[in-house]
Assembly symmetry: C2
Homo-oligomer: 455 residues x 2
């Protein structure tokens, strides 16, 4: 989009959001929902759809229009000020803004309501059904097991070869075709931050980085976004626009990207298939490298300040840090003015490093300025779900590695489609994972994966 186009685009988006909100909180809509809730003889999947319709209606209805407007206005301003504060490493500039955000978040939690913890009301928007108590258990298990690993984990150095953006795009395009991305229903383009954007089930586009990093990072990023895209492409198109054609939660969405990025894309099997192709293309740089050494250059642990650059082991610790801080700010246990100190001491405790600036610390993420409060946990939930799914998958397909190494990816699509994609939001995340694995959500498979791989 041209740079000057943003303000009117924002007005257009605001108008559409207001119109949607109007319709979705109207008396007419409410009476439809209520009639459906009382309706008899619905099929189980229809009942599931009504449950989600009703849940979303209650959430929309609970927030007064005046609050939504105040919130939107504040976060618009907050984002500008956060940008400046981050650029100039000036936490004091962001402080009053964040105070106001916390205040708004506390009010939001009260409007929505909660049983045990105000954070329940916030995280529920992104991960319906999960509770703070559950997150506490999952994340403390993780933290206890992972933190001690960091020091002794596999060290390494990222492998780098020279490649142009054009070459990277070509490689990623071919990789996407090989793993079953349907270009009749999507595109691969470049943007400053990679993302997956679905307009409808037959138009799910992905991007990788325009400021091209290493070709291997580019490939893993593309696999991550492809995982998101496969999920959206796999939702039943005939249910488009209803809960049965919609993803379950951000955590389940992230599980699909992590499944492809980490469990497939960071596996030796995957590179048995793709490394020879890269060697043929980049003879000089890669011709002589051994698969073993290549894998060491891909999978290693190196504590760093920025979440989005983190390796597989330290990544969840970045998230847990934010989760704890969000909860404490919300309950008033932590004051905004003490945030930088709290951040830095936790980084030291978890990763053994201390950022020299707030730009590299508590000002690094956009989330708190745009009001995405309760969002961070879904990143790590994605990994936890993915690991629990993968445990079942790899038992079902004990030869998955030789199949992937021979370039067979169809069976992965078939399994994910049957178990996840085709259900839309018929099951809540907790029920879905129980249906797949026969167990409640647990961090064990994820911890086990990280421990075996990196220690």
């Amino acid at each position: 989009m041209p740079v000057d186009a943003a303000p009117i685009r924002a007005e257009q988006m605001k108008l559409l959001a207001e119109l949607t909100h109007q319709i979705k909180t109207s008396r007419e809509y409410e009476s439809c929902i209520k009639a459906l809730m009382k309706a008899k003889g619905l099929q189980p999947e229809q009942e599931a759809a009504v449950r989600v319709f009703a849940r979303d209606f209650m959430r929309q209805k609970s927030l007064p229009a005046a609050f939504v407007q105040e919130f939107t206005k504040h976060t618009n301003e907050a984002t500008c000020i956060w940008n400046k504060a981050k650029e100039t490493n000036n936490f004091r500039l962001f402080m009053p803004i964040l105070k106001k955000t916390i205040d708004l978040m506390q009010r939001k939690a009260d409007y929505i309501g909660y049983k045990n913890h105000p954070y329940d009301a916030l995280v529920d928007e992104y991960e319906p059904g999960i509770t703070t108590a559950e997150l506490d258990t999952l994340f403390s298990d993780l933290k206890d097991e992972i933190t001690p690993l960091v020091k002794g984990a596999k060290k390494g150095k990222a492998l780098e070869i020279k490649s142009s953006l054009k070459e990277q795009l070509e490689v990623c395009h071919n990789m996407l075709e090989a793993i079953g991305y349907n270009f009749n229903r999507g595109r691969l383009d470049t943007t400053s931050h990679p993302f997956c954007q679905g307009y409808h089930p037959f138009d799910i586009r992905i991007t990788c980085r325009s400021a091209h990093p290493s070709i291997f990072t580019q490939m893993l990023t593309t696999l991550h976004e492809a995982g998101h895209a496969f999920y959206e492409m796999g939702l039943p198109p005939e249910a488009h626009g209803t809960p049965l054609g919609t993803y379950v939660s951000l955590g389940i969405h992230e599980s699909q990207s992590r499944f492809w990025e980490t469990r497939i894309g960071r596996s030796e099997a995957f590179w048995k298939f793709f490394l020879p192709k890269l060697k043929a293309k980049f003879k000089k740089d890669l011709g002589k490298i051994k698969l073993n050494d290549f894998m060491s250059g891909l999978n290693f642990v190196q504590p760093s300040f920025i979440r989005t650059d983190a390796d597989e082991v330290t990544y969840p610790l970045h998230v847990i840090l934010r989760y704890e801080i969000e909860k404490e700010l919300l309950t008033g246990e932590l004051h905004v003015k003490d945030l930088p100190e709290r951040w830095n001491s936790s980084m030291k405790e978890l990763l053994g490093i201390t950022p020299k600036t707030d730009t590299l610390g508590c000002l690094q993420d956009i989330h708190w300025s745009v009001g995405f409060y309760g969002y961070f946990p879904t990143y790590t939930l994605g990994n936890i779900y993915a690991a629990q799914m993968f445990e079942v998958f790899s038992k079902k397909f004990p030869t998955w590695e030789s199949r992937v190494a021979s370039g067979d990816f169809d069976f992965i699509h078939t399994w994910l489609s049957k178990n996840i994609w085709s259900h839309g939001s018929r099951y809540d995340a907790g029920d879905l994972i129980r249906k797949i694995s026969g167990k409640a959500l647990t961090a064990k498979p994820y911890i086990s994966y990280l421990t075996h791989k990196y220690c």
Copy 2:
């Protein structure tokens, strides 16, 4: 857009169109319009806006929803069948479809209403205020003067040099920057058919051809689309969404593209400035060419079958042919079954050539399949308006050629903005051209331009 995305996209567009139609024909909207029409103390520009609001409301209201749905359904099917018919040169396949289209068009004219000719009701959608009687006069003047010119006009051969799409884009990008296209408010991309798409006043994008033709064609195409873009960028942003922030008519829109493409872009002055730049880039192919010879390779007459490939002299004859046929089909004077014969004999009469297939003849344009009936005249009206505007412009700036030759384009923007862009739809096309030139619309300046340039 990915190829499989079209059907759902069409549903989305249909939904938005229906919602818009609902709002714009609602009682609430009607009572607003009526209140405004009775309001006293409005400023003249407010009165003008109310006049346009009311006119558009009457048109929307006059068409029954059932008719609009039938029309949309038919044209969706018609486009598929037209595509097949064109591909296989099978007019008989398209015949029943076109019969139905004509029937729908006759009903549309009746719904909308007209004083003298049913065609008035159709052309009014694209060129509000113009009448068939006026078009008859303009087009018969043109036809009488231009047809005899074709045979004796300047012949020539298109200049061709080797250039990649990337080089063409670079040249067009630099040209756009030089002539004042604001890339903060737009983009240049490639598509199979070039177009200009405005989303709002700060996001007006243009494209040139992805199947790259000659670099000179590419530059003229880009100038054409830039002319459209300048107009949309020049509309008052504070009036966006109202008639005062909206273009007057398709003919006036086309006048802006033709102004830049033909009167500026095909002038010797323009190439005095740009040819040296091209010579520096394409030394081998262009290094030794003289400006005179270059201009002969750009401006010549060569009758051909396809409207969109036509030169400046034969182009209006292609349009007049369609105009006459549309009128005759609408009144029943011409039967659909006799269309190919009528087409071919007119081509022979006007251009001295006869297409060997209907694919090269009456099946070439998409317009009749999508129901764009009364649209063709606006192409030639664009040239007529542009010529009448240019006559005034060149009198006001007798040294325009030396200014353009030195790379000065700002004064053109200033003049067009003051006289056309800044008014939005405050004046109907007829009033606007009278305000600019002091005269009613006339084909004389256009005929004079073509005659002097090509004979």
